[in-house]
């Protein structure tokens, strides 16, 4: 994709008549997309804001504006505060891990080796397979009785005997103990976003001019110095983009939490998106649900601004 800076079109001026008609044609061709987006993304977004300021429920969806009391009610709700905190913890912890792992993995995938297509296919599976189905696989792996992780721990003598490292219980109850449930959700989020971040980083790493690194090598720069002075500054925009997209996808995701824990045990893994669903749809409180979902918006807006800036910058380079 070329940068935004198109030079002035030569000869554009002397075909004014055609250009005028082309302008009309252009508007006609663009119109369906713009109308659809306005009707199905723009209008619902405005409606979400209106709902958040109303007292609408699924039983009585009429719009009576009641001011900001839904936001106040959300903020004074301990479950909401927990969900808000969890959303940030899940997103930041998982995406920090993803950035490190994807860098290591992208570096390895850049090297030539046999069977690359198979390795690539296996590594991309968490992103390419439908996420709800992949997460179902994890649900069975975290099973309270038949977890294979527990079986290995028992086999190694780390679980299930009085002197074992993880205690005398026969099982860990991955999704039933608050700390472990949080760790499990983070693990599945890492698993899911890692392929995406890796592909983004692969693009960034392979676009570094080889002669730059070779020149640095000739000049006697150590590997550490080369990484610090060349690779990191040159790939920082790409790494940031990988991070930001990971944040956008994890921050707004409902599937992992919904399938694994439904926010349990006792709301310990509740996130904004799941709480929006339980309040707004299952409990039928449209107004509360809309207000909760809108708490996601500022983070998304900030991420979008950074993504735009980063994309611009890399286009200049």
């Amino acid at each position: 994709m070329s940068g935004p800076a198109h030079p002035a079109e030569p000869g554009g001026g002397d075909r004014g008549g055609i250009l005028d008609r082309e302008g009309a044609l252009a508007k006609l061709l663009i119109a369906p997309a713009v109308i659809y987006i306005a009707a199905m993304i723009g209008a619902p977004f405005v409606l979400a804001i209106l709902y958040s300021l109303s007292d609408a429920t699924t039983g009585d969806p009429g719009l009576r504006l009641v001011g900001v009391q839904n936001f106040q009610a959300a903020l004074s709700d301990p479950v909401f505060r927990l969900a808000l905190r969890n959303t940030f913890v899940f997103t930041l912890v998982s995406q920090s891990i993803v950035i490190v792992l994807s860098r290591v993995l992208a570096n390895a995938l850049l090297k030539p080796f046999r069977g690359k297509w198979l390795v690539r296919f296996l590594i991309m599976l968490p992103w390419t397979a439908p996420i709800s189905l992949g997460t179902i696989g994890w649900l069975w792996m975290f099973d309270s009785i038949f977890s294979p992780i527990d079986w290995v721990l028992r086999y190694l003598g780390m679980l299930g005997t009085a002197s074992a490292l993880f205690g005398a219980n026969t099982n860990m109850y991955w999704l039933g103990v608050p700390g472990l449930a949080m760790a499990s959700v983070i693990l599945v989020n890492v698993w899911r976003i890692l392929p995406l971040a890796t592909v983004i980083q692969l693009g960034g790493l392979s676009s570094i001019p080889k002669d730059l690194i070779e020149a640095a090598e000739v000049d006697g720069a150590t590997p550490w110095r080369r990484t610090l002075m060349i690779t990191i500054p040159l790939t920082l925009p790409i790494v940031s983009i990988a991070f930001l997209f990971g944040v956008v996808f994890t921050f707004t995701d409902l599937v992992v939490v919904y399938v694994l824990t439904r926010g349990g045990p006792v709301h310990m893994t509740q996130v904004l998106s799941s709480w929006t669903f339980f309040k707004g749809i299952e409990a039928g409180d449209l107004a509360q649900g809309a207000a909760i979902s809108l708490f996601m918006f500022p983070v998304l807006a900030v991420a979008a601004i950074f993504i735009l800036r980063m994309a611009r910058r890399t286009e200049v380079v």
């Binding site: 369906p32 199905m40 649900g289 993504i307 994309a311």
Partner: protein, 280 residues
């Protein structure tokens, strides 16, 4: 010495890649095992869970295909996916072409604006859109999904195609117009065939994302026979509180692998698209 170092580096590389591949693919291996394992073997905590302790069975597959709505889920998914692909193409191809061809300043800005709507997540839109669906009487209908899924395919596909159209030199269609084709003829007979790989990418992308979608389907559809795979498998293959792990894993596996194969092939193009061309 140098040779030894090389072997060690090679071994390190394979170990690292093996570890990552294991981490990523293990849940799917786990599905394969459960799909063919007898219940008695599956539900014995003392049995080694990674291998077949008793001979494999096709019982779970039989149950999945003949005693659940699984085939229906696949057909529903196919129907919704194809309809979304058509709507996306009809809307995004003309828009992207116009934005790429006649865009001066405002076209670029509008293009970025359209792309940014892709970042408005379903988790904000699903509550108002559920009211839209019930307003139009589309609750419990696949039409609600067909109507709503283009919210995530159109913005992204328009952006992606815009990039493709920009790479096709203007001279080609100008020449075609000098040779007597109309503007529309030049677009449909000269430019579109050249952008075919972009169009194909959009087809795969729109279908894949429709298949992956979870939250709208969960909100709009609760009748079992109308569900798509991504919600049907996780919500329906449960009896009371008891998960039917064998058929459940079989369903997840069968629905995952074909789409994953195709998606992997196109992945680089998608990523180049939504990093806005930052990844070359």
């Amino acid at each position: 010495m140098a040779n030894l170092g090389k072997i060690a580096r090679r071994g390190g590389l394979y170990t690292l890649l093996g570890a990552f591949a294991f981490f990523s693919a293990f849940p799917f291996y786990w599905m394969v095992i459960a799909t063919f394992k007898r219940d008695h073997d599956l539900f014995s905590p003392l049995n080694n869970p990674f291998i077949f302790n008793e001979s494999p069975t096709l019982d779970h597959l039989r149950l999945l295909f003949f005693e659940t709505h699984f085939v229906g889920y696949l057909l529903n998914t196919l129907l919704v996916g194809l309809a979304v692909v058509i709507i996306t193409l009809v809307t995004a191809v003309p828009a992207a072409y116009a934005l790429a061809r006649w865009a001066r300043g405002w076209g670029e800005t509008l293009g970025i604006g359209i792309f940014l709507t892709y970042l408005v997540p379903p988790t904000i839109l699903f509550i108002p859109l559920s009211r839209f669906a019930s307003f139009f009487g589309l609750q419990e209908s696949l039409w609600s999904l067909i109507l709503v899924y283009p919210t995530f395919t159109i913005p992204f596909c328009t952006w992606l195609l815009m990039g493709f159209f920009k790479t096709i030199p203007k001279d080609i269609e100008e020449q075609a117009m000098i040779d007597g084709l109309s503007r529309f003829g030049a677009m449909s007979r000269v430019v579109l065939p050249l952008a075919i790989s972009g169009v194909l990418t959009v087809v795969v992308f729109a279908f894949t994302l429709s298949m992956h979608e979870f939250i709208y389907a969960l909100t709009f559809i609760s009748v079992s026979a109308k569900k798509t795979v991504s919600i049907g498998v996780p919500t329906e293959l449960v009896r009371g509180d008891v998960f039917q792990w064998g058929p459940l894993m079989a369903g997840a596996l069968i629905a995952s692998i074909p789409v994953a194969v195709v998606y992997t092939y196109f992945l680089d193009r998608f990523v180049a698209g939504f990093t806005m061309g930052a990844v070359k």
